[in-house]
Amino acid sequence: MKAWDAIIIGGGHNGLVNACYLQRAGLDVLVVEKNDWVGGAATSRELTPGFLYSNCSYVCSLFRPEIMRDLELPRFGLQVISYEGGAVFTRDGDYLANYRDHDAHRREFARFSKRDAEAYDGYARDVTRQCRFIQPLLMRTAPDPTSLKPRDLGELLYLGKKFAGLSAEEMALTLRFWTMSISEFLDEYFETDVIKANFALSGIIGTALGPMSPGTAYVLLHHYMGEVDGSVGAWGYARGGMGAVTKALAASFKASGGAIRTGAEVDHVLVSRGKAKGVVLAGGEEIYGKLVVSNADVKRTFLKLVEEKELPDIFLRRVKNFKIRGSSGKVNIALDSLPEFPALPKDSPVYRGDMHFTDSMERMERAYDDWKAGRWSSDPFLDMVIPTTLDPTMAPPGKHFMSCFVQYAPPKVNGRDWTDADRDGFAESVIAQISEYSPGFRDRIVHMEVRTPREIEAEVGLTEGNIFQGELTFDQLLFNRPVPGYAQYRSPVGGLYMCGSSTHPGGGVMGAPGRNAAAEILRDLAKSTSHMSPAHDVI
């Protein structure tokens, strides 16, 4: 019976990135995917005739350009179309827009506060400085601070040197930045609530934290990063929906000789004498491999796919303690015409960007209080986009697809599982909010898909529906991600690796975990990594 060189569990973007790199290193790689399609949370699905839904992730924000280049994704059809703007609607009938042009951006802020308009440059400088500090860490394996191995010491030294290279002032700023809430951080720059809310959303998207929670200033970086290192065009819609990203990855993988089996749910990993030997599918079929890489989150991988007896207690305890909290949902809507927002001029570029309705820090934080109490937010935070304003391939002529990312939605409602009635209530909170700013919105709806954490977990397999495969808090970053001692993509089971967003550097359609994991695997196999571009310089 054939033994693959590597079996990848899960055809999400990180699984595919990992598979591509391994295949291109000369390995014989099989990707097994439980759904009948690949893509994980980066898919485009025709859920109603003529409409393509980016039904989970909806924006290409952080995808590493080095990976796009190595895997030749443009050749395999990936096109990223940039946002042209964005806005927060205000309750007084106005809006605060984000424009790409620096001076338009300043003038827009000046409509609300001249001071804030002129504070933006200082803010951008400070955030950029932090990004420059963090960004090179994304494409490196985190060092183990308890290890005395030369590589770990070298990496620690690298970190230390980077830090020591800062002035005393910058060190303090960096430490503060890592521990502040986005709300407090913004208070130091801006006076206008809606301007703060406009920036704060980047500090909370995907997390189970509110803008007033310490540590959210750092999350801001996680969303800001793509814009820093000259990754022009890295932020935008993928033509044809987010599935285009994974479609291109799959095409790249197949072109280099890789194999994909869809509709193949893994029941468990075959382990013999502490070593992974392959996987057993739900139907009982055994597939053998010299190594197994799991794109599933760390909880799913080790609490469901691997038998407890194969794992040390301390590892199991830490995996159980890994915080993976669903905090968001999606409402995907097919529309028979472009919704109108009376507050927004018809020729505004904002229609071709991301729109929001949460115009104060308090509303954002209160939405989080609902989540803490085990409820979905009655006044939710929405990140709403209409990709069909730039990509007509996703809907029939004249019709539109709208994606609403919704925060917050708890993994359980008042401690119990979501019901269909809950789901409808959740959707109603979203539709009601949009309708307040867009009269007649309801009448335009042709079809709607509502995804609470329940649906996200069921379809994509993300535990608790957490889009980042684990919270981005300090206790789960760098050498703590996913768990201390196993932050280098390996696991206690020989030949079993992790490559999902549960690992460093975390979530978003970034591809870095998949790539970094491939580098570690190839290192273990003593294979060349010359086909992997080094991380871009930050100079």
């Binding site: 703007g85 309750r91 007084d92 009938g93 106005d94 809006y95 827009a97 424009y99 042009d101 620096h102 001076d103 338009a104 300043r106 003038r107 827009e108 409509r111 609300f112 001249k114 001071r115 308009a117 002129e118 504070a119 440059d121 200082g122 400088r125 950029t128 400085r129 420059r132 800062l166 002035s167 002032e169 910058e170 720059y189 001029p345 020729d347 505004s348 570029p349 309705f357 509303r363 409820r375 979905w376 009655s378 006044d379 409602v413 008042n414 009635a421 809950d422 209530g425 909170s429 009601a432 909010q433 307040e436 700013y437």
Partner: protein, 419 residues
């Protein structure tokens, strides 16, 4: 169901501030604003060669950048400086505030006078340079390249003073060149002859006033005029009419930039990086490192950055120096690397040109001390002159020379020359 129903967040209350905000929404359709003088500039813009000056459409040139330059040096040149950032600082503590914020001693700046100054952050790194106009004992105008409202407002904490940004409300013109005085006089600004260099006075214009100072950015005889935006076109016309026979010409930035370089003047974020914009810590500069050390007055009392600046001097922490260079030959050394003994990199040229006035090949460069400071011999610049798709690589000797590169007696002569 466990959920409370949504509270209605939308409250459409009509209020003046909101209406004003909404009226201003349409700015996104015009990314580069016209200045108040735009109708006149448009009429003259034969080259249609625009650039973005702080969000305004400003001319690089209008009809001929060579002749525009010579208008500055041989006739009268009119340059629109409206996009310059302007702040009004007014109140009983305005002098004290500015004395704390800026380097030079503001108590020595009399009403009706202007001085060139700079301001620093706590570490003594330069935030910007600019001109400070003392309009009255308690009223000032600060003009600069970059924007500083948050810094000025935070500086004003504890001072009885108001700080207002007035860039859009106030239009500005620079009238520079040997015939500039004659143009103003002929335009009917009686008494303008009394203005000595760095003097400032108000003159009646079109039912309002225009404030005229004998200042400029060219090293030549010249004036700057500030006028409320709604009186700007009549001012333009008044000057153009009066100057017709004196060769008055509207000009663009390319010409002005040449003149300023000959005058040895520096430009923020061209010749040095301002602290607010410096992302890389080693790009920050103290006044002594960009030739502004003369502004520092250790005796005037406290000012922002004083401790750090004096400490840097005492502990010899100054790492850079900005110098004027004269380079052999006539090929401009723009952005050339400066070498010591033709081999060791010691700095960079930030601006360079062949000076038609001085007939010398001049440059402004930032060097790493001690080069350019105590070690001024054996300096070279490596010029990459692109000629028909090939670099002609030249290694030319550079001599540290004093700025300005040209000195024109007419700039300061009193009474001003009547050409």
């Amino acid at each position: 169901m466990a959920q409370a129903t949504r509270k209605k967040p939308v409250a459409n209350t009509a209020n003046a501030a909101v209406s004003a905000r909404i009226v201003a929404q349409g700015h996104f359709r015009t990314l580069r604003l016209g200045t108040p003088f735009q109708p006149r500039l448009d009429a003259l813009a034969k080259t249609q060669d625009w650039y973005n000056w702080a969000g305004y459409r400003a001319p690089h040139s209008l009809w001929d950048e060579e002749l525009e330059y010579f208008a500055i040096r041989s006739q009268a040149a009119l340059f629109d400086i409206s996009p310059m950032t302007k702040y009004r600082i007014e109140g009983p503590d305005a002098e004290a505030l500015l004395n704390r914020v800026t380097l030079r001693d503001v108590t020595k700046l009399k009403p009706g006078r202007v001085h060139y100054t700079a301001w620093c952050d706590d570490e003594g790194f330069v935030l910007d340079d600019g001109t400070l106009f003392r309009l009255s004992p308690t009223r000032f105008r600060l003009c600069s390249q970059e924007r500083h409202l948050p810094w000025l407002l935070d500086s004003a904490i504890g001072f009885d003073v108001i700080v207002q940004e007035e860039t859009e409300a106030v239009a500005g013109l620079a009238l520079q060149g040997p015939t500039s005085f004659a143009v103003l006089r002929d335009a009917g600004f009686a008494g303008v002859e009394k203005l000595k260099v760095f003097d400032l006075a108000d003159f009646p214009h079109d039912g309002g006033t225009v404030s005229i100072s004998r200042t400029g950015f060219t090293g030549d005889l010249g004036y700057e005029l500030f006028v409320p935006a709604d009186k700007s076109l009549s001012l333009w016309d008044r000057l153009m009419t009066a100057g017709e026979l004196r060769g008055i010409r509207a000009i663009g930035y390319t010409a002005l930039n040449r003149a300023r370089l000959e005058a040895g003047l520096i430009v923020a974020n061209a010749d040095f990086t301002t602290a607010e914009h410096a992302i890389r810590a080693d790009r920050l500069r103290r006044p002594d490192e960009i030739g502004l050390g003369f502004m520092i007055d250790p005796e005037k009392g406290h000012f922002n950055g004083r401790r750090a600046i004096l400490e840097a001097r005492a502990k010899r922490k100054l790492r850079h120096v900005l110098v004027g260079l004269e380079i052999e030959g006539n090929i401009p050394a723009e952005h050339a690397i400066v070498y010591y003994k033709k081999s060791q990199e010691v700095g960079l040229v930030s601006a360079a040109m062949w000076s038609p006035m001085a007939k010398r090949n001049i440059a402004i460069a930032s060097l790493e001390r001690p080069y350019g400071d105590t070690l001024v011999e054996d300096l070279w610049v490596e010029i990459y002159a692109m000629r028909e798709l090939q670099y002609q690589k030249l290694m030319k000797r550079a001599k540290v020379v004093a700025r300005p590169f040209i000195k024109l007696d007419r700039r300061t002569a009193n009474p001003p020359a009547d050409f």
